[in-house]
Subunit: 208 residues, 2 copies
DNA sequence: GTACATTGTGAATTGTGAATCACAATTCTG
DNA sequence: CAGAATTGTGATTCACAATTCACAATGTAC
């Protein structure tokens, strides 16, 4: 059955979305033009009407992920004041994101399998840096508030923050879902907090 | 030039080693039978004399990595007494390992790109669990010593420990080597230690 | 040295997936 | 409606890598 003719703007979105789902379901290696076509409801070659090639589709997926990632930070800023609470909330949202968009972890880790194409992944690097920068900014705000020790480099704290979720996401997938990533994050948070929080500042005790 | 006839035991080792190097250099996607043959000095088809196929080679690599990983824990046990010092030392060794054997990170993360073959990666899961278990055991020893808070699940601490290196390794690779993973680990350690160490136990101050 | 097993070789086979192309259908514009 | 632009289709090409196979070389046992 012939697919209904649809304008490129819409198709591009559909294709990027389909690509993200494919990656989320089966990893980067299962991203194929044929698979995209099937999901969108067009024939493989029709994909080339809307994207130059597979790489272009991947770039679009990266853009999608970047947008959603930074949107989370933005949202957290609006929901809560206070650096420590924001970090805690971001942690939850970060986990949720990894569950809702497994494509994210796949893409993040995929450059390990497809190393050598350094240029292709520079966009991903930019995204990660932007995210780290946002987290670091929250940390710095916390340091100004006096809630977070000032002798901790904000970037170090930001990378450690990522370190709370990254291995959890990895184990979750590696175990086929057995590892409870959320439970780990909940258990790890107070430990991280104790390392982070300023000594004299005990006003925040409700942080388990 | 015809390769000298070599017995299978040796060839199997050579092939596994070559495969590990290939993965380390260019990611899992650059592991090819042809590449292995070239490194070993035999023709691609000759590889099949010693391994059933590509999957079997990959399994062998996984075994190699498992052995080296657990050897590090063993070595640390022999080098230092005291849980906290052992963890600190293991951290350094862990980083060193990731630098010396980039294949390790590649393989660990590769299952994200090649998801769906759950069975293939169960061996990797076992290895990770074994490693986590060793770390958790050190943590438990530290809790018995009174150096580490007893209200922290040892497994949580172990996963957090992994979280100190994982993102660092990722950023290192993502940035093309710009990110200084060792520096991050050095900066992150005291923060982690503060979260981990028992309150009443201040005997260990030389941990920066 | 002769039979036999082992290992190496090159060619051929097969499978996969990206990309191209000529052509058909559809939509838009006048 | 006529013509142009856009989008969809199927066949096809291309590159690449895994695997198989018949055969050659090498080594081993008797």
């Amino acid at each position: 059955m012939r697919a209904v003719k649809t304008e490129t703007d819409i198709r591009r979105d559909q294709i990027a979305e389909a690509a993200m789902e494919l990656i989320g379901a089966g990893g980067l290696s299962s991203l194929s033009i044929a698979g995209i076509g099937e999901r969108v409801g067009i024939v493989p070659s029709a994909v080339y009407r809307h994207y130059k090639g597979k790489d272009a589709v991947l770039d679009a997926v990266l853009q999608l992920l970047r947008a959603r990632m930074l949107a989370h930070v933005e949202a957290v800023r609006g929901e809560t004041p206070g650096a420590l609470l924001r970090l805690r909330l971001l942690l939850v949202r970060h986990m949720t994101m990894l569950v809702e968009h497994p494509a994210f972890s796949h893409v993040v880790f995929a450059h390990f399998s497809h190393a050598g194409h350094a240029a292709r992944w520079s966009g991903l690097h930019d995204t990660m840096c932007a995210y780290l920068k946002e987290i670091a900014r929250i940390v710095e705000e916390g340091q100004h508030e006096g809630a977070i020790r000032s002798d901790i480099p904000s970037r170090t704290a930001a990378v450690m923050f990522i370190g709370l979720v990254l291995p959890a996401a990895m184990l979750h997938r590696l175990s086929g879902g057995d590892f409870d990533a959320s439970a780990h994050v909940d258990a790890a948070w107070p430990v991280f907090l104790r390392g982070l929080a300023a000594d004299g500042d005990r006003r925040r005790r409700r942080s388990g």
